[in-house]
Symmetry: none
Amino acid sequence: MRGKHKTDNNEHKQFIDNRSISSSKDEGLIESKQLQIVEGAYKLFLTKGFHPTSIREIAEACNMSMGQLYHYISSKDDVLYLVHKHFHKIMYDFLKTQKLEEYVSPVEKLINFIKANLYFVNQNKKLIQFISTETKYLQKDYLKDVLAMEKESTIGLYHQLLVEINKEIPIIADLEILASILAYLVAFLPMKGWTVNEDSLDDVNRCILDLVFRGLGQSVLQEAEKFLI
Amino acid sequence: MRGKHKTDNNEHKQFIDNRSISSSKDEGLIESKQLQIVEGAYKLFLTKGFHPTSIREIAEACNMSMGQLYHYISSKDDVLYLVHKHFHKIMYDFLKTQKLEEYVSPVEKLINFIKANLYFVNQNKKLIQFISTETKYLQKDYLKDVLAMEKESTIGLYHQLLVEINKEIPIIADLEILASILAYLVAFLPMKGWTVNEDSLDDVNRCILDLVFRGLGQSVLQEAEKFLI
Amino acid sequence: MRGKHKTDNNEHKQFIDNRSISSSKDEGLIESKQLQIVEGAYKLFLTKGFHPTSIREIAEACNMSMGQLYHYISSKDDVLYLVHKHFHKIMYDFLKTQKLEEYVSPVEKLINFIKANLYFVNQNKKLIQFISTETKYLQKDYLKDVLAMEKESTIGLYHQLLVEINKEIPIIADLEILASILAYLVAFLPMKGWTVNEDSLDDVNRCILDLVFRGLGQSVLQEAEKFLI
Amino acid sequence: MRGKHKTDNNEHKQFIDNRSISSSKDEGLIESKQLQIVEGAYKLFLTKGFHPTSIREIAEACNMSMGQLYHYISSKDDVLYLVHKHFHKIMYDFLKTQKLEEYVSPVEKLINFIKANLYFVNQNKKLIQFISTETKYLQKDYLKDVLAMEKESTIGLYHQLLVEINKEIPIIADLEILASILAYLVAFLPMKGWTVNEDSLDDVNRCILDLVFRGLGQSVLQEAEKFLI
DNA sequence: GATGAATGAGGCTTCATTCAT
DNA sequence: AATGAATGAAGCCTCATTCAT
């Protein structure tokens, strides 16, 4: 009834169009208001979680009236989607700007990429935890969309790097699966960190890096040892 | 406000006492009724998640009246706790009965332990996913309790095995952290499974095993290669 | 989800079961509470109409909390249905008790039946008007149910009487259609009453009676003239 | 509160002036825009009813912005009024153009008039039903206006014809009441048609015609029988 | 004159929990 | 000990209408 989830047939748009969520017509306004919503909502989500956060609280947090809020979303589920989308964007943007071109060795690139990812993940523990735990509450269409987004961004970057390494040093593994696993592994601390001493953040990161680079095989490790401090 | 969270001062009891949750006095009855609750509730939780499941649905699912239900729990949160406790128990029980004594080599023990764990995890995808994503909604005291339980059971088993290996082949890593990471890694598929082809379950498991055993270092790998098919 | 509209397969129950509307288990209680709801709601409906009456007003009018109200209905639509059902019951009960057995001539029976119906209709103008104008807002299943009810009660009684007459004096018309038309005609005043002077109620009734009995044909009229004052 | 209900004191204008509804000054524009509104709105009303149709839907359906819409009406109620007015106009226009002058006998005129009315009514079932059921939601002043309109148009035409007949063949009845009843009777099918087999439209019409012409008395019937097929 | 974003009260419904029976 | 009816606050969402641009 409320035209959401209409996936755009326009082949240049691969993801769900924000305009299908909002009843507004001004696309620029939609974008800016939805950002305002995300910024208001995600802080609440991080502390309380999705379900315990009420739509009224969200409206307050982003300084909107209920009516205005619903002008730019069509249901509470949309907020969850918008937060996911935003998260994947900022994480992707962060990882993308890591100037990996500076490094010649693809292994060195991967090392620094993982380090960057670990850094980001530890700077955004709560957000990572939120995303990991509430993704399942996305509606079907949104879920598909978000998973596709993830695969094309973060996981995609891992995959590229693995492919690059594989050209020089063969990695005996399915690179797509490996990319997914690496992206998952890196989120260990926000997800399970509580079982680990808070102080040992560096130890954990080291442990993950070691596991990964040893795990990629003897030849990769030899190369990697040059760069692992 | 309500009588929950009374941590038992009895130093021999390390976990929260069920009797502090129930207003009943017959401990056997409490146990059996709470099991009934868990069995009714967890199926709902797996499909709908914790918050979207209502206490009334739970009562129906476990064939209890509201009154009876509240006789054995003191709030909905208790159900979440009971399900967690139950999960850790069955997972621990499963892993415990893996007859690892049969194997002489500690590395072989670990291999088979991880395989068993992967098997369990894949047999209980939804449950694993539920536990991983809703743990954060446990109340503080319950959370502490559950994390302690986890550390003493699954993670504990990993730790023991690593210690055993370490006696023979030194592992350069904090074994506690490593144990946590391994336990986390094994849950990859249920958590991220959707991004991976259903058929490639074996590929994924293989990938994880390889990553781990290469990751434990050259010496462990050499030993492991004898047993990895 | 909320099991309403489950038409009972039990062949003795032809109409929608009240228990499918309520989440209560005590059938006697359901009946009495639903009556309480109908009595609270219908007065509001008569003055304000269905949509302008809020569910909160209904709860107040029948001295129930919101929660209690929804224990005995599952949506506002149910109230509309209950009011319809109640209306058809009381109208049927009234018409049924008209002791038409006293009259020998079937034509006289019809005369007195119509008179009774006109009387009832004029005593319950607002109610008749409400029912006639809001029936269309019944949900599909409820609509079917209510129309069936009507056909079996009021219209059914008209039909029986026409059949009885027809045995003695042939009526050249489809008796089912005629029965429907008569039932409709009788509601003229509540429906259009506003266009007609209040005082002329008797004139209108006379006019309708005349129209009908002349309308049934010369032979019926001759018989009828004996009884029409 | 808002500028509606200003009844015009100008004694030559008997109906509510459209300009009192609109804030525009160009009367031609008002007329054309209000027609646009009526045409957009009435389709929605026919399917959903008055209250369930939102003013936003109306704006969309008639391709107007909210602002423009409210330029030509001053509240949602106005739309209901405009639709009523429009309905009475088109029905009156249709009936007026029935070239009854062709017939010499006033009884034949009435026969053909009723047939035309039945035809119109069956062509516009949903509209008739809508008007009949939602008139009660007109605001007081509008209601008075609409009822006066009806009396002067459709009912008026019936009345004229009855008077004409009455000159030749006395009808023993209050002709005003009779006119109202006839106009009401003719709407039987849209209002109660659902209780009657869909196919039997012709039977129903026949039944109504018979009822009416027999109902007007023996002498009228004799005359009528010449023309009733 | 025209737009459509903004308002915020109020719509219907559900909920965890209690307590009279 | 057991029942399930009762509570009423709070849930999400929509609405007719206004007014800054």
